[in-house]
Symmetry: C2
Subunit: 326 residues, 2 copies
């Protein structure tokens, strides 16, 4: 399977790394909207091309992984690319998924290609686990906790505060809320009552720290309803202690079974990730494998993680799977 990468940011780099752990795949090329000569990739013998020249490589690429931003890039880029390639994206604007699906489905069918959208862990594996949990425990309650991890959106919001040079924001599940769910108490929770937020802030010299802290803590939508901690550190400390992009979270369903629903049953799916983009990249490659197989069986149009039989994700035969994993 020959993989193309469109966009060489954190996710694109993650896909490049993940290909090394999938012997049935190879990197066929990296495509960028920047000057290709400005980009140095790690894989020896593979070229960087201008995104404008992509279509010339049509016959050399089985699956194109689109590693660009959900806010402005993917809504147009995924349908455009799906006209010419089998594609995978990680579109994460939950509310707009139905519209994105429609656009991508039309383009992919037009090009006789298969296109997966919203592949990663959220949306993606979290969604899939929510589906499994709801299919099994039809009478129950869903819980999602995020973290401990870096939220890019919240970090950006802190950086926009006057007097802030740099910042990183961690979302942290509240232990007591998590334990209450796990013990089957079925509490009523909101995002506010199940998470705290912690900000590590590098301030400009002479900045009014009290004012910055107040501005962060009262920021509507982002922080005002949360228990938020603000810690001022030096740029050197930020670079030393907060360079990574860890993340994770929990998708839990607590449900009732029995004639009078007297028994509680809890399903929990948990991720604890050192690197958020590298994990998303690893998921994407499993679905690239499925896309390749499904396209070979004649399937086209837009698909999601809900549409894939698990057997298609892994580099093992059905016989091997039944003998070793069932």
């Amino acid at each position: 399977m020959r993989i193309g990468i469109l966009g060489y940011g954190n996710l694109g780099k993650g896909v490049e790394c993940a290909i090394r752990n999938n012997p049935d795949m190879e990197l066929a090329g990296v495509f960028t909207r920047r000057n290709p000569e400005s980009i140095k990739i790690q894989t020896k013998g593979v070229n960087v091309y201008s995104a404008d020249d992509m279509i010339k490589m049509k016959d050399n690429i089985d699956i194109m992984i689109i590693c660009c931003g959900s806010a402005t890039d993917l809504p147009t880029m995924t349908p455009e690319t799906a006209k010419h390639f089998n594609v995978i994206d990680s579109y994460d604007k939950h509310k707009n998924i139905p519209q994105h699906f429609k656009n991508v489905d039309k383009a992919a069918k037009q090009g006789d290609n298969i296109a997966f959208i919203s592949v990663g862990w959220d949306p993606g594996m979290f969604s899939l686990n929510r589906l499994f949990e709801n299919a099994i425990l039809t009478n129950g309650k869903d819980y999602t906790f995020w973290g401990k991890g870096v939220s890019q959106g919240h970090s950006d919001a802190v950086r926009r505060v006057d007097g802030v040079l740099d910042a990183k924001q961690y979302t942290i599940p509240i232990d007591s809320a998590l334990n209450s769910v796990r013990s089957g108490e079925n509490p009523e929770l909101t995002a506010y009552t199940s998470h705290t937020r912690e900000c590590f802030v590098v301030a400009e010299e002479g900045a009014n720290l009290e004012k910055i802290e107040k501005e962060i803590k009262t920021m509507p939508a982002y922080f005002e309803d949360y228990d938020t901690k603000v810690k001022f550190i030096t740029k050197a400390e930020l670079d030393r202690d907060h360079a990574n992009i860890p993340h994770g979270g929990f998708v839990i369903r607590s449900g009732k079974t029995g004639w009078n629903n007297g028994n509680n049953q809890i399903i929990e799916y948990r991720l604890k990730l050192d690197s958020n983009p590298e994990f998303n990249a690893s998921i994407i490659l499993a679905y690239a494998r499925a896309a390749h197989r499904m396209r070979k069986r004649g399937l086209t149009g837009c698909k999601t993680v809900f549409d894939v039989a698990p057997v298609d994700l892994i580099d093992m035969s059905s016989e091997e799977l039944r003998a070793n994993m069932l």
Copy 2:
């Protein structure tokens, strides 16, 4: 969807209860090898039939759930029944699954039916999560912990000891082993070093308790390699405190990503169940729904949880799923 239950033990009763939580299903009949008149079920207006008369009901049942034992019943009963019905079983002898698959596949194809084997949580959801985890983290290590829960096989083994009237055995994961895995230390573990066993024993009056305890703790295969605790209690205490069938466990994969595999990523799937058979029954009904849909699309032969696209498990349309769960 009209469901038949073959065998009215703990699992069959669980299926009967679970149907109440699935409005798109109804119980069409319970079939037994015992005298049908000796069995009283909970669902009003539904009859109990002799298993011998099953075939007469062929046109009234969409999916037959076979709720009998893996050791002696299912190897012959599932292929026999699959000649006449779409079936689901929960065959759990991992080693013999390939042979069972072959037998059931042949019979189901002969009858133009679809047949799912080994549906439940282990095998079943544990297997499925192992597959997902391995497909995503191709470079990693698998861990499985069982419990805290009642092991039927080990409880039976204790009951066979001379001087024992009744007993219940709990399998318990060792916290330090679990925490080591969760922290990304990737320890080398065996079943022995990751679980303890706790036995609650009702002894005959005047029995030699010391001898019983020693016999349990040194029992080959079952206990000798484990840290085993034996507690003697009264029959009244056993009935009061140990009447339920709780179980659960953890399927964890700890894997490496990154150019030099420098980042650790952990996926954990956890179950905490008040009732083992009722949870298995809930899983089985989700796969009964999938079986029904897949058969309508013309699929026949033997299938496992690996072969089902998640969308087929749940009573929601693809559009609803994308809008609400992705």
